[in-house]
Symmetry: C2
Subunit: 385 residues, 2 copies
């Protein structure tokens, strides 16, 4: 299933030693057509890895034949040698498939600064083995091959009137918007042109991955790609396609949140009655990035003072003395003062819902984040990534 | 010494049960003149505690007779009752001193949302006892009374040509700019008018407390106050006064950094060759707020990739592929690629120096921060503050 759920796609996941554990570490996904439509969104970080620099060129014409992804090394800040590695990865894939290298996307994930001769040799070996292993059942292996600190592989499928969307995702740390840190490949057999694919993908990521902010840190390697084969022969209702794609991206975003490094709570911060959607996002994000609030949730402490202190750092339209805050259904702060006793709030479940009513307008947004835990500190201090 | 090092000041620190430990918890500092000059800077947080709202009015005319400070409760988001508590605190102090309540500053620190009838009664009791205990030797007790999670009291003194500056500070968490979370009282017996005091204080805090960013979280209660008595009779050279004040504030900022909650490293991030001072500050602050980088330092891992990934999120002028990074004297990244091996970097000392050369201009700024540790998570999850 996953990226091979939709007709017209083959995939593979192979092991070439990029992961010291010997697990699958290179994935190849090929679009067999008849259409070869591609769209992609990339990290907003100005420090971009070599595969991002390459893929931004590839996607410009909206034509994609294949995508190669490796874990075990980000190939970021590895200089011109690293860029050549990415180029050679695309060249070799193209040669084996009989297509143009300019239509092959490349993604990498792992430690920044890693991408030496050994890395290059292994990735090229992965291309050779991956193309040889391509199959219509290869989606599951491909999804495993892109995992890094993920504890589970993340996949999602939507089936509608004669067409299908399938996807795989990886991401477990450094989850912040624009995009969250992740590699995602989405395939569909619906008939779409490049502009339709691009518009649908941007609309979907804006309200899903871009609202996931686990730790405020933005990666150098993020890429979300949509490939359309047209193999179903069905021209979808565009609204239905967009809705299905947004729904699928939302499911993947929640799966990334649920597997965030070291997290013990999944926190949904819903901001209501904001003066604009941008205000709602800014308010939600300020709370999602507040270490004191995140540590309080880890300690099951409904510390609404830290929520208001975080909102106070924004430029959003709001009156700090007329703002209400609910935690898991209990209004702990009303009109800028204490309301229900903290003891009424049960923060022991993994799911925590924070509702903030800023009483300034009609707009709403929900930001997904996690708590700040001992395990987060451990995972990000004991291991390089 | 501390705030009573300069002539013309009396102070006291008393215990009235705001701290469950029975330690000193209310401080009073009185300016006996002949001048009654005051200047203050306040938190940039739009969510401001009642004492901040009050003190902003008091400081408007540049005349201050006294300042009352309590630990054990922030009196923030406590509604109109809380504002009345602050008002009564100033009224009672003024009555006992025979001055106007409009010339009495009030500061509070502790848990947001705390400020009930019991709190009010204790603070007013503290005013009674504090005024009764005022003495020219009271500075040390006053410095103890404002401590919260501080493990040591922070004081500093500068003596120049016939005039003196003395100060006390508290702050150990939620340290972020505009201001860092802190209460600071600085006294001087130099002869200054209100405009001179205000200009000197703003210039000093801009390059000291405003560049301390321990955990990215901004408090609701921050205040830095400068009181001038003129008791030395000396009109200082203004440049010399400004330099001494900035130097004193820098010392206090480093003392706050060294006592930051749960920290195991004091990190100085120096940004060189930025296109503007604002760019240098933005770059330094982006690194100081990056949880992944901060966790890496805790793990003694010179992870320069996380430094570049953090800078990439800024709008500062820089080329990610032509930026150099040093850690504790070792250039680990040059021109956007790996340089000296990580093994050469010793991050085991508490002091960590990160030098970032963005090669875009002539401006420099240094941001002070701390690492992200298990103890930080513990202190901020196990206790409300």
């Amino acid at each position: 299933m996953t990226v091979t759920a939709a007709k017209g796609f083959e995939a593979a996941g192979v092991a070439v030693g990029l992961k010291s554990t010997g697990k699958l570490d290179v994935a190849v996904v090929v679009n067999r057509g008849p259409d070869k439509v591609g769209a992609a969104v990339f990290t907003g970080n100005r420090a971009k890895a070599n595969p991002i620099l390459w893929s931004q060129q590839v996607i410009a014409d909206g034509v994609v034949e294949a995508i190669v992804l490796n874990s075990g090394g980000a190939n970021c800040f590895t200089g011109s040698f690293g860029f050549q590695t990415t180029h050679q990865t695309a060249e070799k894939t193209a040669e084996l498939l009989g297509v143009s290298a300019a239509d092959v996307l490349v993604c990498s994930t792992g430690l920044i600064g890693s991408g030496d001769e050994v890395f290059r040799a292994k990735v090229l070996d992965g291309v050779q083995k991956g193309v040889a292993a391509l199959s219509a059942d290869g989606g599951t292996d491909a999804a495993s091959a892109i995992m890094t600190t993920d504890t589970v592989s993340k996949t999602a499928v939507r089936q509608r009137d004669g067409w299908t969307i399938g996807a795989m995702a990886k991401g477990a740390g450094m989850l912040a918007p624009g995009l969250a840190t992740m590699l995602v490949v989405i395939t569909t057999d619906a008939v779409l042109d490049a502009a339709q694919a691009d518009a649908a993908l941007r609309a979907a990521t804006r309200v899903s991955f871009d609202r996931l902010d686990s730790d405020g840190c933005m990666s150098t390697n993020d890429q979300v790609t949509l490939l359309a084969s047209g193999a179903s022969g069905i021209v979808p209702d565009l609204d239905a396609f967009r809705a299905a794609l947004a729904d699928l991206c939302g499911e993947l975003a929640r799966k990334l949140q649920a597997d965030a490094e070291g997290a013990s709570h999944d926190i949904a911060i819903e901001v209501r009655h904001a003066a604009s959607e941008a205000d709602a996002v800014e308010v939600g994000r300020s709370v999602a990035r507040n270490n004191l609030f995140k540590a309080a949730v880890f300690g099951n402490d409904p510390n609404w003072g830290r929520v208001l202190a975080a909102i106070g750092t924004t430029n959003a339209e709001f009156d700090p003395y007329d703002t209400d805050v609910w935690m898991n259904g209990v209004r702990v702060c009303t009109a800028g003062g204490p309301d229900a006793p903290r003891e009424q709030v049960d923060l022991t479940p993994r799911a925590v819902e924070v509702l903030i009513d800023v009483k300034a307008g009609t707009h709403t947004a929900t930001i997904l984040t996690n708590d700040l835990t001992h395990d987060y500190v451990h995972e990000n201090s004991a291991y390089s990534s």
